[in-house]
Symmetry: C2
Subunit: 103 residues, 2 copies
């Protein structure tokens, strides 16, 4: 993920820019341990298959990581990476020619 690439950044934010997916992210955010899909199901009122697909989208963009745990699959937020990307964007927006002429 190159934060200087609008395409890359758009792809990441697109994955996050859906209400149910964002709910999953918030749910994982509050959880202090990886959660399985069944558990995550509770935060958005959709079929389990839909949750599965949303998690797949999030995984493809590197937002979450998954691990097989027996017959369950646990998901965890990829916090570092996600925070880095969001901060990079915020920095870019804040910094660029905001204090031009003052440096």
């Amino acid at each position: 993920m190159d934060p200087d690439s609008p395409q890359d950044m758009a792809a990441l934010l697109k994955a996050l820019g859906e209400a149910n997916r964002m709910s999953l992210v918030y749910e994982l955010c509050d959880a202090n341990a990886p959660q399985n899909a069944m558990c995550l199901c509770s935060c958005c009122d959709v079929d389990a298959s839909v949750v599965s697909r949303h998690l797949k989208v999030l995984a493809q963009e590197g937002v979450v990581t998954s691990e097989r745990k027996g017959r369950e699959k646990t998901y965890a937020l990829n916090r570092e990476e996600l925070v880095r990307s969001l901060r990079a964007l915020a920095d870019k927006i804040e910094r660029t020619c905001h204090d031009e002429g003052r440096m």
Copy 2:
């Protein structure tokens, strides 16, 4: 915009989660003065009407502000608001139960 609301946050990121719109944002990011739509057109290879619509979406989510300047309309990034929202999300992701047990 309530950063604690997954719905609100998703709506914002959805507006940003499209390649051409993100290109517009990056273009405005690098510009040190408000730009009109014709000028912004150059950064994404689409019709002027499409740019107009994308800018409308960004304006509706508060990403940009616009102002009539004669027959042109100039657009500027709403930097503070945008940065605040992105940082709020990053903070939320980073903070939550990341150092639980260490406080």
